[in-house]
């Protein structure tokens, strides 16, 4: 195969020249790169490679150029002397590149680890420097945020309408908010160390709460009775949670206590009102149906009695019938009063005058039993628009009940006053035996009585309730067993 030597010779010559030029340029670039970043071991590696390549390029390319020139001037024998040296240098440069590469293999790995660590160190250094520069500002910022937070929660603690208490695990009070101070018995004296359990009317309720907290860690809306201002018991909902201090690992208890006495009383009153309204409706129906036959029976009895012979057995029997029918009619009339269906004659009248008339004949009876009647009447009281006789009946009922409730000596206090514009109140309070919650809830029920059989019909308070309702008023009762009972009548003023 005969071919032109020109492509080979030209490519060889030009390529050799280019190799020398570019290898030297590469070496120059690497020298520059190494001087820019002396710490980077990669550049050192590439510098060695480029140096070897430059030596190789100069050796090989110069050899090739010389070879071509020697062939051109037809002295190829000289090349045979130069050739081994050129080839040896080429071989050495290849081995040099390979050796450097093998050597730098581990250096490369270590270099990467060092660079990674250096980056991490630099980052840590920058973070530390930043923290150092900003530490004071950050402390100020956090302190301010803490103060704002503390103020916020302090205000919540102090302005809360509900009681907030913090106690030890055993129930010793550690902190109590102003609402608690205001609502609890001797609140101002409930300093740290006072027992929360002592404020519970029923101590076992507090033990039960502590047990639930230790078992479950929290308790929700447990209804309890607490001692309020002046020893007055009130019902409250207690919620609590166990807190554990991170540092001391000591357990504390956080309680939220809400006074629900008023709410529950109102709810009970509404239930009572609804019940009495239903009973009143029933009573009115029964009374209406019974009243007419009783009238007929009474009329015929009186007719028969008139025609019967005097002192005859028949007349005596008819008298007994008449007496019991009249008794029945009274009961029916009472029922009608309770049901507010009876007639009443209302007119403006003075409450104090009514009270004086009532006391005029009840005071004597009370004092005979060793009971002192104390009146605490308001200086001036507006007139009420009422049926004076009916109001008298109510007051007599209440005073007689008060006398019956006091065993031995005691006091009955009759108090009046202006409650709010347009409403006056009369309170009849005794120092008698009082009532428990069960009796208190049924006290206005018709035919409910605690008196011995035959001494009371159980209609007195029912009728009083009906009368007051008929006057657009309210009657309520507060009673503490062993301490006494107070009935309060609220009536609208005239005009």
């Amino acid at each position: 195969m005969i071919v032109s030597s020109f492509p080979i010779i030209s490519v060889d010559l030009v390529g050799s020249l280019l190799m020398i030029v570019f290898s030297l340029l590469c070496f120059e670039r690497m020298v520059r790169l190494t001087s820019l970043d002396k710490e980077n071991i990669l550049w050192t590696y590439l510098l060695f490679v480029c140096a070897a390549l430059s030596i190789f390029a100069v050796s090989r390319s110069a050899g090739h150029i010389v070879k071509q020139l020697l062939f051109l001037i037809e002295v190829p024998g000289v090349w045979e002397h130069i050739r081994p040296f050129s080839g040896s240098v080429n071989t050495l440069t290849f081995i040099l590149v390979a050796s450097v590469t093998v050597f730098f293999e581990r250096v490369w790995v270590i270099n990467r680890a060092i660079l990674k660590d250096r980056r991490a160190l630099r980052q840590a250094h920058e973070e530390l420097s930043w923290l150092n520069r900003n530490l004071e500002a950050r402390v100020d910022e956090r302190t301010q945020a803490l103060a704002v937070s503390e103020k916020k929660y302090r205000r919540m603690f102090e302005l809360s309408e509900d009681m907030i208490l913090v106690t030890s695990g055993e129930g010793q009070i550690l902190a109590l908010n102003p609402a608690g101070v205001a609502q609890l018995e001797d609140g101002s004296r409930l300093g740290p160390g006072a027992s929360l359990g002592a404020l519970f009317v029923h101590g076992d309720a507090f033990d039960s709460i502590l047990e639930t907290l230790s078992r479950e860690g929290r308790i929700r809306n447990s209804e309890v009775t607490l001692r309020g201002v002046g020893g007055r018991p009130f019902r409250a909902l207690v919620s609590g949670v166990t807190l554990t201090d991170v540092d001391s690992r000591e357990g504390t208890l956080l309680f939220m206590v809400r006074d629900v006495d008023e709410t529950l009383t109102l709810r009970e009153k509404m239930a009572t009102t609804e019940k009495l309204a239903a009973v009143g409706e029933l009573s009115a129906g029964v009374a209406h149906e019974v009243n007419n036959p009783l009238g007929i029976i009474l009329g015929y009895t009186q007719l028969l009695k008139r025609s019967a012979e005097d002192e005859s057995t028949l007349k005596e029997d008819l008298t007994v019938i008449e007496k019991h029918v009249i008794g029945c009619k009274k009961v029916v009339e009472s029922l009608l009063n309770f049901a507010r269906s009876g007639p009443s004659e209302k007119s403006p009248c003075h409450l104090h005058r009514i009270i004086e008339e009532v006391l005029a004949f009840t005071r004597h009876q009370a004092e005979m039993d060793g009971i002192q009647v104390v009146t605490e009447l308001a200086d001036t009281l507006p007139e009420i628009y009422a049926d004076a006789e009916k109001i008298k009946q109510v007051l007599i009922n209440l005073i007689i009940n008060a006398v019956h409730a006091i065993d031995g000596k005691g006091e009955i206090h009759v108090t009046t006053g202006l409650e709010e514009p347009g409403t006056v109140f009369i309170t009849v309070a005794d120092t008698g035996s009082g009532m428990d919650a069960d009796i208190r809830s049924r006290v206005f029920d018709p035919f409910f009585t605690t008196k011995p059989t035959g001494t009371g019909t159980g209609l007195g308070l029912s009728v009083s309730y009906g009368i007051i309702k008929n006057h657009g008023g309210e009657i309520d009762v507060i009673s503490t067993p062993g301490k006494g009972t107070a009935f309060t009548i609220h009536l609208p003023t005239a005009g």
């Binding site: 071919v3 060889d12 390529g15 280019l18 190799m19 570019f22 820019l36 071989t91 490369w108």
Partner: protein, 154 residues
């Protein structure tokens, strides 16, 4: 046991044999070493390309061009190993320079002369390789300068 070994070593040094202490290096030994060096150079370039890939340096334009240079150097080494093998190691191709300035390529294997002729143009591989290397290094220098300037600015 020690005595037996000592006696063996003693007789080994006393044995009357011709002295051949220094080995000669004639024949094709030189070309074998040169071929091995080419192979090592190719392996080194392969390692460089692999490192650039494994360390994810290819994302930088400069390193990408250095990797291209490494690939081209590998091809160049394969090419020259082939040429050395064919005309010096096994002498399958003989080249005669004619007075006309032409070359007479003689080979007993059909087509080998043509392949040899093309393979002889090895500068077509090594020159692009060194150009890629130079371009890559220029880019690396520029990147380093830019980083340094950025570091000063910040």
């Amino acid at each position: 046991m020690i005595r037996i070994v000592s006696l063996f070593v003693f007789f080994f040094f006393l044995a009357a044999l011709p002295a051949h202490a220094t080995q000669g290096h004639g024949g094709i030994e030189g070309i074998l070493v040169h071929q091995a060096a080419h192979l090592l150079f190719a392996l080194a370039m392969g390692f460089l390309a692999f490192r650039i890939k494994r360390d994810e340096l290819r994302v930088q334009k400069g390193w990408r061009n250095v990797q291209y240079a490494a690939f081209l150097f590998i091809l160049w080494n394969v090419d020259v190993i082939f040429v050395h093998f064919v005309d010096e190691q096994v002498a399958l191709v003989t080249v005669e320079r004619l007075s006309t300035g032409q070359l007479h390529l003689i080979s007993s294997i059909p087509g080998l002369a043509s392949v040899y002729y093309i393979a002889k143009l090895d500068h077509l591989l090594c020159v692009p390789a060194i150009v890629f290397l130079w371009v890559g290094l220029c880019q690396l220098v520029n990147q380093t300068l830019a980083r340094r300037d950025q570091g000063r600015a910040s």
